[in-house]
Amino acid sequence: MTVMNMVQAINAALKSEMLQDDRVICLGEDVGRNGGVFRVTDGLMDIFGAERVVDTPLAESAIIGAAVGMAARGLRPVAEIQFLGFIYEAMDQMASQAARLRFKSGGKFSAPMVVRAPYGGGVRTPELHSDSLEALFLHTPGLKVVMPSTPYDAKGLLTSAIRDEDPVLFLEPMKLYRAFSEDVPEEDYEVEIGKAKVIQDGNDLTIISWGQSIHTVQKAVKEWEEQKNLSIEIIDLRTIAPLDLDTIIQSAKKTGRVMIVHEAVKSGGVGAELAALISEKAMFYMFAPILRIAGFDTPYPFPMVEDEWLPNVERINKAIEEMLSYS
């Protein structure tokens, strides 16, 4: 075991996969000499050379489009989009090309590739750097979407993503890059894509979240448990697509109260999909309406107000109180 933060854990996964499999190459803006704007690919060019850690021209569509061609021809590209908010430039290549290649060719071709991108708020970025766009890609058949919340999961999920036979969008919560460290095995390991994690057992209420919001949820729950004799279950979704329905429904049936917390804007978010699924499969177990604590339906706001815009402990606490009032 080594103590690593998330940047180090992701870097370790890339390095380990590149050492084991020479089909794996990294490409993106500033990923080579500079080691990425967050230093996630730091040092990889020195080890693997400019052929395998490629500083590309500044063109998001070309980065993902070229990765599709590489993947179809037997490489395992790991492309970086510098910030998730920039991926709109490459939406065709992501949603209509990478995601559909297997389907449109009747299974004759595929694009096993990873697109990594930092996302999320709370770090005072200029506009369009902080958006959480995971719902767009849950709505895109053919893609897998992974959003880790810890260094351990980040390393294991990225390892799985690189080894996966389908295109995986790997979203890295920017605020957590260096927020904390934990024990991470030095050897390689996989965390299964498509499996949520119950990070805390409970009976009175289920809170589902992912990425950096998980930590806000944990803070809020801790306050409740210290003050009142309550047991709250927390599920870290970890994979957005495909959703781990079993874990979600099992918990919903057990507690009868479900809250979903995400940074992305509320309307049409992943929370809406979860609420619909729970309604379909566990409606008669519910004591309370399913609530969503999410970003407001505005563009991601200016840094001066982002802390109030993002789901915070206060909003989560109010929602818990409301949900417990139903019995």
């Binding site: 070309a62 490489l75 449109k104």
Partner: protein
Amino acid sequence: MNWINESCVTVDMFQLLNEGGKLVGEKPDIPDDKLLQLYKQMIFSRVFDERALKLQRQGRIGTYAPFTGQEAAQVGSAAALDKGDWVFPSYREVAVSLVRGVPASQSLLYTMGHHSGSGDPDAHMFPVQIIIASQTLHAVGSAWASKYKKEKQVSVAYLGDGATSEGDFHEALNFAGVNSLPVIFFVQNNQWAISVPLSSQTASKSIAQKGIAYGLTSIQVDGNDVLAVYETMKKAVQLAKEGKPILIEAVTYRQGPHTTADDPTKYRTKEELSAWKQKDPLLRMKHYLIHNHLWNETQEEEETAIAEQKMTEAYQTAIQTPRSGLDDIFQNVYHKKTSNLEEQQNSSKRGEVSV
């Protein structure tokens, strides 16, 4: 001040056969049997196109994008490739696919809407691309993979004049240039992007010159002259394998509609069409072959009959292929079916709503 502009660029269209089928350049070193093969492939392509149009009008196949007028560009370029080279087509490249050895029935099945889709790994043909210019980037990635794996093969993106306005085209040329990739961008400038003429598509006096901005080696070729196209592509393959990415502008004309859903009489004149029919690629090659005593009208009739028969067989194969059902669509979304898809498939089989 030294401004640079269009006048700095000279673009001479490469031609070997003039409109009457007379040799105007140096006689290319192509064996007679190859000349005949090229022509026969052009005949089969034209027969395919004409039959596909009829089948569409009869409601037997779906929307179809005809390529009549572009046979020399497609056959000449595809015939110059090696088996190991990779092709990234748009939706108008049926003649290319036939030369590559993709069964004609596969192209029919595609337009009939069969779930087997398009693309043929054995023929090194990527699936048909609908999004304009998107495939240029896949060709770049493929060329990159070849270079990385040190495999001597080129990747060819086929596109039209309209595609040269897309961002992906420019990003692709730029990536190819920066990384010295073994890739060829083969533009069939057929003068029209649905209803928009080339003059509204670009202010450049040629498409070929667009390569210069990205450090590519470029050429404009008479796309209705199969010999010129073939020779150009041979040379392009050689240069691309040396790490010189290539842009080829083949000047040609789409004699038919954009697709079977389009009516070109709305936007172009009869005079324009008949002027281009004078430059028809099949007529030109036929005159050349007859003049050189390699071909005659009897052979023309025989070959056309053979092509018609092959086409009938292809259609029979297509309609005898089991139709796609709802059950088929769940198979190729992911490598391994997700539990969510499994559930939707099972409930659809039982005729239930998806719960």
